[in-house]
Every structure is written in structure tokens, then in C-alpha cells.
Symmetry: C2
Subunit: 226 residues, 2 copies
DNA sequence: GCCTGTGAAGCTATTCACAGCT
DNA sequence: AGCTGTGAATAGCTTCACAGGC
């Protein structure tokens, strides 16, 4: 099984590769991708190796070929619909972000308990009352959901979603969710993030890949870097 | 230096301990905290050991004492002000969340380039035009900032903040930031999170600590678990 | 010369397992 | 009996460093 961190980085590589493609770049070296992503060339090579793609010493990796390979690896062939629980500011920010782009991972239904917010379409996404969540998620075979409800409602929301068939949750509520072992939870707990940033802003700690000011200068030597 | 993951967990433990305190619980065992946080008892004990707090075999850890110790460790003694760049839906969700609570880590200034959004107070936080960001962040000696602007503006925003003295960034924009090595960046990239969740919803993978349905049942045996 | 692919080494984080305490 | 504190073992991830290719 592939490391979680590698999956994250592949997603990042794909986005960067898309930008390269848009500007007409046809191939890229591991050290270039590493500089853009903020990692090491060795890491990039190993990540790409882990999904069975290969480059050539002369040109590096083919941009569109690598994008396609990452897609085969990360995306569900049939596409995946996503449910969104909670249409507050956060939920709307998320809808706005995903509107239009990402055909294969689109938010296809949103839910809120406020009657004012439902029964309309926001950013191309229909909003329903929470009462219909279980029914709709089950019928549409939705397996991925975003929890953007207040903390006190998070566990109940998760329970309903799991009951309806969801197996992956992105949880923005500041609460720990208890779910079955076959359900994956990614926490995005803003309060935790902010306390961590505040701590390290005072105590310092930085990742590898170094990267200096604005665009990382290509201060490579012979064998990778240090 | 303390592991990054430990800092995250300490923040989580503190929140859980606060809830225990509110309901009048005076002491807690590592396995109880582990069940609440979704980790292992050994992990909890080591995290607590790493900040130099000790419990007793008979009662476990003293709830208020441990909260205080985590506070000494995580928080700046004088408190830390936080700047927020971007007052869109996401920025407003963040302001709403931090309004009131967290005296020692409050959002003290928000910035937006839209003249409609600025020169007023939202959730107790004054909003200024971006042009004044560098000046205000520098004058208020703000060291921590949240980036909630669109991706194309993220790097320029980060540059300005760093120039003004910020040393910790929480970045919600789907873009990799290039900053000086002494500046800490925590990425909260929603698109990456969602792709990761979608991937593992299909392929499965779960953390330790197991945890079953709703509230984790206390199926402990003698020596820890597993 | 400069690249990729990769075994091996090195690190970091987590878990085991038990001595010591009550 | 059941807990904490912790050295030792393990697991997981990252980086090194070099063979092989153009």
C-alpha cells in the first residue's frame, strides 16, 4: 500500500504539472518538480516510481504522460461524487472552490439544517435539507463527504453519512470523529493547525527541500542537494 | 525539538481535557484520553512525558494540571495576535470560529482587497484594505498569519506578510508557498485533502487506535491493546 | 555531464513490554 | 490488579549514493 504522504504529494505534482502543461512545457526533471513542490528530487523520483511511471535521463518526465498516470492512480475511473454537510461560510467557500473544475471529483449534493439555505442551487450544486441526507447519499452511491457543520453536530452527521455508505470523510469540525475502521477520516482542524503554526512560529522548524525566498533558486550541485 | 505530530496531539488533548473539566472530571487515564483522541495509550503517555508532566498510577493525570502544563508549553506567555489575509467565505468562517474563544490566540486584524469588505468590524475583528497590511502587521508585531486569498494572490500575500515580520503561516490557498527557511508554513489545501480522502475511501487504510462505531468501546485488555 | 531508478542507510515516530508504584 | 514512565524494538518515511543510460 502506498504511503499517505505520497498520495498528498502526487496530488500536488499533478496540479503543478497542469500549470506546466498550460504554459506549453513538455517535459520536466525531478529537481524542477521538487523545487516547485518544495521537496527533494529524490523524493519526487521515488513518488513517481511508486506509481510505476518512468522518465528518461535526457528529458526527465513527460508532462502529459505523468499527469495521465497520476490520474489513473488517484482518480476513480467512473468519477466520484462528493457530499457536503453544512452550507455555512465554510461550506460555501468549499462549493465555490470546486465549482466547475474537477469533473471527476465534484460536489454533487449539499445539506443544511437551515430551511433558508436549502432547496436551491449554489455554485451549481443542489442544496437539500439534512433530513434527506441519508436517502440522497445512499441513492446516489456517494462514498466521499465533507463535514462542515458545527462541532456539536459533527459526530451525528458522520454517523448518518457512514450509515448511508460513505467511506471517506474530510472533517473540518473541531471534533474527533469515531467511525468504523473501514472508513477513512482526514481531519482539517483549523484550531489545531493554528496552534501548531503559532508554536513553530516561535520555536522554528523547517522541512527539507529548503526553498529560499520567492521562487526557489536552482542552487543544485552534482548529486541532488543537501 | 518536539515532533510536529506531538504538538498537534497536545492541542487535541487540551481541547478534550477542557471538555472533561467542564463536566467536572478531575483526573483521566492515558487509555481514556487515547480513546477520546483516537490514539493509543502509549502514545498519550509519551506525548505527556515529552512536555515533562507526570501522572500517578492510581489516578492517572490531573485534568486541570495537565491543561495548565500544555498551555505553558504551547502558548506564548504574552499571547499571540494573528492576521488574516482574505475576507471571503473562508476568511469569514475562520473569523466566526475564533470570535470570542481563545484569548491567547485571537485574530486581531483582517485584510481584503475588496473595498466593500473593509473598514468595518466583523466578529469583533477589524478589517483593513490590503494596502495597509504590511504597516499594520509590522506595527502590531504580528508573527502568525492565515492566508485565505485566491491561489494567484497567495505568494504575493505571503511575501508581504513575511516582510512585515510574520514567521508562521497557515495557508489555505491551493498553491505552494516559497518562504525563507525560518518561516513555518502549514498547508491546508482542501483540494489535496479531498483527493486523498477520495483515494483512501476506495482503497482503505486506517490509523492505529482502532476505534469502532460511534463512541469507541473500551475493549482494553491487560497490556495496552492490539 | 547530468539525468533516472533504486538498494541501502539513516531518521523519525510509534508501539512494545516491563520495572516500579500504589 | 492496574496504572505510569520509559528503554528497547519496530515500523514507516526520507535521503543517500551510485549503477546505468544517453
Amino acid at each position: 500500500m502506498i504511503p499517505e504522504r505520497t498520495v498528498e504529494r502526487l496530488s500536488i505534482y499533478r496540479r503543478l504539472l497542469g500549470a506546466l502543461l498550460a504554459e506549453g512545457t513538455q517535459s520536466v526533471f525531478s529537481h524542477e518538480l521538487a523545487a516547485m513542490a518544495g521537496g527533494t528530487p529524490a523524493q519526487v523520483r521515488r513518488d513517481i516510481m511508486s506509481i510505476g511511471y518512468t522518465g528518461t535521463p535526457t528529458r526527465g518526465y513527460d508532462v502529459s504522460g505523468l499527469i495521465a498516470r497520476i490520474g489513473q492512480f488517484l482518480d476513480a475511473p467512473e468519477g466520484q461524487g462528493v457530499a457536503l454537510a453544512g452550507v455555512g461560510h465554510l461550506g460555501q467557500a468549499i462549493m465555490a472552490y470546486f465549482a466547475g473544475r474537477r469533473p471527476h471529483l465534484a460536489i454533487v449534493a449539499a445539506f443544511d439544517k437551515d430551511p433558508q439555505k436549502v432547496d436551491r442551487v449554489i455554485h451549481g450544486c443542489p442544496c437539500y435539507p439534512v433530513e434527506r441526507m441519508e436517502e440522497i447519499v445512499r441513492e446516489q452511491r456517494i462514498r466521499v463527504a465533507i463535514i462542515a457543520v458545527p462541532a456539536p453536530a459533527a459526530q451525528a452527521t458522520a454517523n448518518t453519512l457512514v450509515r448511508a455508505g460513505v467511506r471517506g470523510l474530510l472533517n473540518f469540525a473541531p471534533a474527533r470523529l469515531h467511525v468504523p475502521v473501514d472508513t477513512y477520516v482526514q481531519d482539517a482542524d483549523i484550531a489545531v493547525f493554528l496552534e501548531k503554526v503559532a508554536f513553530f512560529a516561535r520555536h522554528g522548524t523547517r522541512v527539507p527541500g529548503l526553498v529560499s525566498e520567492p521562487v526557489g533558486n536552482p542552487s543544485e550541485q552534482s548529486e541532488d542537494r543537501q
